[in-house]
């Protein structure tokens, strides 16, 4: 049978971000695939070497357009580590609250993208409608729906008022009820299951071999979550229930993400209810002592790490950003092999790619 190579992207019919796939087909079946990154490479790591520590917060907020808050959180933690600063508990709680709301937002956005890619426009509309609730809450807290600009070295820039806290506590149960409806659809809808079950399979062994992290790893039975396993901020004060599944396919990834959303809604409620009194920020020195620091955190897509090297001035000598998508991308050709062309869109959406993160 003759072979055909189909280029998909960089201007993408499946994703809103530029990445190029070359998919080789024999008949309807995928026999090979390659990918090319770099279309949104902005040289952020190099740029960071010429800006002060404070200015870099704005820069790292823009590494990702979805999980912007976790990037600044991880970066600030690294700089605070070098400074030997302990941020106030209230500030840390507000950081965690934004992290959890961002996780809910990211997972619902992903569910919408997956549903649209497999032709289930109703689920896409429901998921994105429900996501508005959490976006409104984040806007209420920080003033921004996606870029929050709330983190600073030494804490957060805005406090949470009691009116805001009440609104969060009132809106979260509404969101939880809607997410349970979405879980019901993913669990029981015949079309959804037919399009997602048994495709994009990744074994536990492969997760370890390819250093895959986050919900994709947890859907293949690897229960690692840095909030529980290497707690940062004040996550050690909460019980983190890590969701794992054994199936390792796109459907399992959907279930893991929706259950994680429900967990995050509950965690957000606990954070607001337990919110301690006090300051939200401490004064930080502009000059950072010489040394190196690695900070890790659990973004919606998995482990994010920031390496910061300081030479004792106001400007970092080196900042390295590692985003969770990069390793998931290596496994894509393996996941696609042997599938039919019609399933390619589901698998590509299933790993929750963030190309801006991967390119930096």
């Amino acid at each position: 049978m003759s072979r055909v190579t189909i280029p998909i992207g960089p201007q993408h019919p499946l994703l809103k971000e530029p990445v190029s796939f070359n998919i080789t087909l024999e008949g309807e079946n995928v026999i090979d695939s390659t990918l090319r990154l770099g279309y949104v490479h902005r040289g952020i790591e190099k740029l960071a070497e010429s800006r002060s520590y404070v200015k870099n917060i704005t820069l790292f907020e823009r590494v990702c357009g979805i999980c912007s808050h976790i990037h600044t959180t991880t970066y600030c933690q690294a700089v605070e580590g070098l400074l030997g600063l302990e941020i106030p508990r209230r500030g840390s709680y507000i950081r965690m609250l934004l992290c959890e709301l961002e996780r809910i937002h990211s997972h619902l956005l992903w569910l919408g993208v997956l549903a649209k890619n497999i032709g289930l426009n109703t689920v896409f509309m429901y998921a994105w409608r429900d996501r508005e609730i959490v976006l409104d809450l984040m806007e209420e807290i920080s003033g921004g729906r996606v870029s929050h600009a709330i983190n600073t070295i030494g804490g957060v820039r805005k406090d949470l008022s009691s009116t805001q806290a009440k609104k969060i506590l009132a809106d979260l149960p509404v969101l939880a009820a809607r997410v349970r409806e979405l879980l019901d659809i993913v669990n029981n809808d015949r079309s959804f299951k037919a399009r997602t079950q048994g495709i994009g399979y990744l074994s536990t062994q492969d997760v370890y071999r390819y250093c895959v992290v986050g919900p994709v790893a947890r859907a293949s039975g690897v229960g690692v979550d840095l909030r529980r396993d290497a707690p940062y901020a004040h996550y050690h004060e909460f019980d983190i229930n890590v969701i794992t599944m054994q199936e390792g396919d796109v459907w399992a990834r959907a279930i893991v993400r929706i259950l994680e959303t429900i967990e995050s809604i509950d965690l957000s409620r606990q954070i607001v209810e337990k919110l301690p009194a006090g300051d939200v920020t401490v004064r930080a020195n502009r000059k950072v002592p010489e040394g190196e620091f690695v900070s890790r955190s659990e973004a919606p897509r998995g482990e994010v790490i920031y390496f910061v090297k300081s030479d004792g001035t106001q400007t970092p000598k080196r900042v390295k950003v590692r985003t969770p998508t990069l390793t998931a991308l290596i496994t894509l050709p393996m996941q696609l092999e042997g599938l039919q062309m019609a399933d390619v869109s589901a698998v590509i959406a299933g790993v929750d790619l963030c190309i801006a993160c991967a390119d930096r």
Partner: protein, 151 residues
């Protein structure tokens, strides 16, 4: 215990046992010569330290170090000193296939040669990029010299 055992074994092959010679760092670290990398990775894998978080290149005063950040409950970093004249290191993708994109990024950004890595096409930089390794460039970002070079 896995990290602890691995660290003890790694200290035997390390270039220095003097903690003072290493920079202040918040995780476990071991200083290695580039030829010892594969041996060190084998030791880590044997002790069940499987997760490679990333590889960081640090270029300073014409010297390049590659930092292999591993994690298994706690972090452990292999600090590999790249020889200036040799400018190459072994690929670890045979042992850890997930290191592929990290290594490709290091090659493109720092211009170091990684033995055993297929670099037929570029992954991050444009195909027609002529400017050398971007992370080794000394020009200040946004400076007049840089703007002229871009023109």
């Amino acid at each position: 215990m896995t990290i602890c055992n691995a660290l003890c074994e790694l200290k035997n092959i390390s270039m220095t046992e003097e903690e003072d010679l290493l920079p202040s760092f918040n995780e476990n670290q071991v200083l290695l010569a580039s030829g010892q990398l594969l041996e060190a990775v084998v030791i880590l894998l044997k002790n069940d330290v499987k997760h490679l978080s990333t590889i960081t290149g640090v270029y300073q005063e014409n010297k390049l170090q590659l930092l292999y950040h591993f994690w298994q409950g706690e972090g452990i970093t292999l600090r590999v000193v790249i020889d200036v004249t040799d400018n190459q290191v072994d690929s670890i993708t045979d042992l850890i296939p997930g290191a592929l994109f990290y290594e490709r990024e290091i090659v493109e950004m720092f211009g170091v040669k990684i033995k055993g890595l297929d670099m037929a096409t570029r992954m991050f930089l444009p195909d027609n990029w002529q400017g050398g390794a971007p992370m080794r460039r000394k020009l200040e970002v946004g400076s007049e010299e840089e703007m002229q070079e871009i023109k």
